[in-house]
Amino acid sequence: MLLSISWRNIWRHPARSGVLLMAIVAGLWAGILVSALTNGWIHQRFVNLIQEEITHAQIHHPEFRTEGEPWMYIENSDDIFSFLDRDERILSWSARALIGGMIQSPLTSSGVQIRGVQTDRERATTTFHENLTEGDYLDSELRNPVLLGERLANKLNVEVGNRIVLTFQDLDNEITSGSFTISGLFRTASNPYDERNVFVRDVDLQELLGDAVFHEIAMMLQDEGLSEAVTSNINNEFENIVAESWYELSPELRYITDMGGGLIVYIMAVILLALAFGILNTMLMAIFERMRELGMLLAIGMNKMRVFFMIMLESVILTLTGAAGGLLLAWLTLEYLGEKGIDMTSMGGDSMAEFGYDAVVYPIAYSNDYLTTITLVVITALLAAIYPAFKALSLNPREVVRE
């Protein structure tokens, strides 16, 4: 009966309740959408970094990541490869020779990171090859093939089929250089990455380096959550190397991932704070209009707890009704946009690529986002109704029933 009276009370003034409901619907819809958009950005950034480059865990010489010297390669790499092959938690791995050097075209030169990759293993471990926009991957028939970012190619004024020269220090700290033919161009979501990295075959690079060495082993695991356990096992098993999980390799990625998880709370808190005043206002108006009726209820014997509960229930029902509408609308919108994506190019989305984010965003709302929203909505409704409910309790039936 309380539920029934609360529901009917809400609709005493359809226009007033309707306006508040629309505000709740619009607020939650916008909140979920903004949150989903941010989730999409973060997810895409995570996928780009993890699946294209970082992977779930990596192994290096203990000082390679800070010093980057050519001689800081992974010793006993064959033993490590065997160990990795035996670990069922590791889906695939790929070893890389990494050297800082110069790329030179007939027009100009530029500093780059030369990445010597195991062609087949890299293709099985990362999705980098999917970024190829022109030409062939490194398994082409060409001698000394090299992949360049589109932006770097533009800067050097070269195209597929042209030759460039890579110059770097070999393992004996001697300057060496080699001529490479551009087999393909790539474009990732990150402009800086495209300008600073070139890909060659590991064997081609190792030949110039003077030995078959690797500076990095990248691993994709069954689950990203296994990274800590796997790296710990590797570190215990081998000396003079360090295995690190993705969040140690890229703390900023961990930061944005962690931040993204709680983002919905902050966005919704701001929206609901504004809505709370609307709910408070509506409930207060409802109480002031019904003083005589509430006084009558107290007079005839409805206890104060029930009156209090009735007011709270009205607020919760009203807000949850709006929330249901808002969530449904958000869900429908995301069903559409999740497939189609939102092209942010016209809104300066291109500049996002400077920071490694895609211009086309596919918004994602997790089930937790909906649950969090519902929880926050109920909390807001309850908090906003407390004052009006206490106001109702403070009524003196003797005074109000005669008014």
Binding site: R8, A299, I300, M302, V401
Partner: protein, 227 residues
């Protein structure tokens, strides 16, 4: 045995500023089945007396006993529960719940008493029928005339099977026909079900129908007549 006893009731409003003596040493007894009117000019203390008897106001001095239970000094929660099960109220402005139908308005109080659904239904239908509202079960207050609304209010007051009903100016907003019709209904319930009614009024139509008339002046009992 008296169903209601007031012992030296006094009520002073604003005792620290400009004291207003709403009741002065009022001692009364009401027997079961009485049909009593408390009359007097505005400000004579009629409503204050009814509020004291109904446990809606606290006397400055004296106390009220209902069927041997002293309600003065009861805790708020106990008093609300006591009112629910022992006292019926009829208000001048009807005070029905506008979002409920006539039937729901009458059943609501029984719901608060946690009565059986079947009993609620039977009692609500019986009372509304007795009040001449058998065709108005599903009508909301807005769809009823003032007289009909007040009859629903009387049915609601009777629904909880109270020991007595306090009616504060019940006919003040009604035309003559509606007022006489309402009084007929209440008189019928008084005679047939031995329900005790106490009215506060200055409506002569009510006073004429009462079997006991208490006249108040300046918060004191001026006259107590039985017909």
């Amino acid at each position: 045995m008296a169903i209601i006893t007031t012992h030296n009731l006094s009520k002073v409003y604003n005792p620290d500023t400009i004291p207003v003596h709403a009741l002065r040493d009022v001692s009364l007894e009401f027997e079961e089945g009485e049909f009593t009117t408390v009359r007097g000019p505005s400000g004579s203390g009629k409503t204050t007396l009814l509020n004291m008897i109904g446990g809606l106001d606290i006397p400055t001095e004296g106390f009220v006993e209902i069927d041997g239970t002293r309600i003065t000094g009861m805790k708020d929660r106990e008093l609300i529960n006591f009112r629910l099960n022992n006292i019926g109220f009829v208000f001048q402005a009807y005070n029905l719940i506008p979002v409920f139908t006539a039937y729901e308005n009458v059943s609501f109080i029984m719901l608060l008493q946690k009565r059986e659904k079947s009993e609620m239904k039977e009692r609500a239908e019986e009372l509304l029928t007795a009040m001449g509202l058998s065709k108005k079960f599903d009508s909301r207050p807005k769809q009823l005339s003032g007289g009909e609304q007040q009859r629903v209010a009387v049915a609601r007051a009777l629904a909880s099977r109270p020991k007595f009903i306090l009616a504060d100016e019940p006919t003040a907003n009604l035309d003559t026909d509606s007022a006489m019709n309402l009084l007929d209904m209440m008189e019928k319930m008084n005679k047939e079900e031995n329900v005790t009614f106490i009215f506060s009024t200055h409506d002569q139509r009510v006073i004429d129908r009462a079997r006991r008339v208490i006249t108040m002046v300046d918060g004191a009992i001026f006259k107590d007549e039985r017909k």
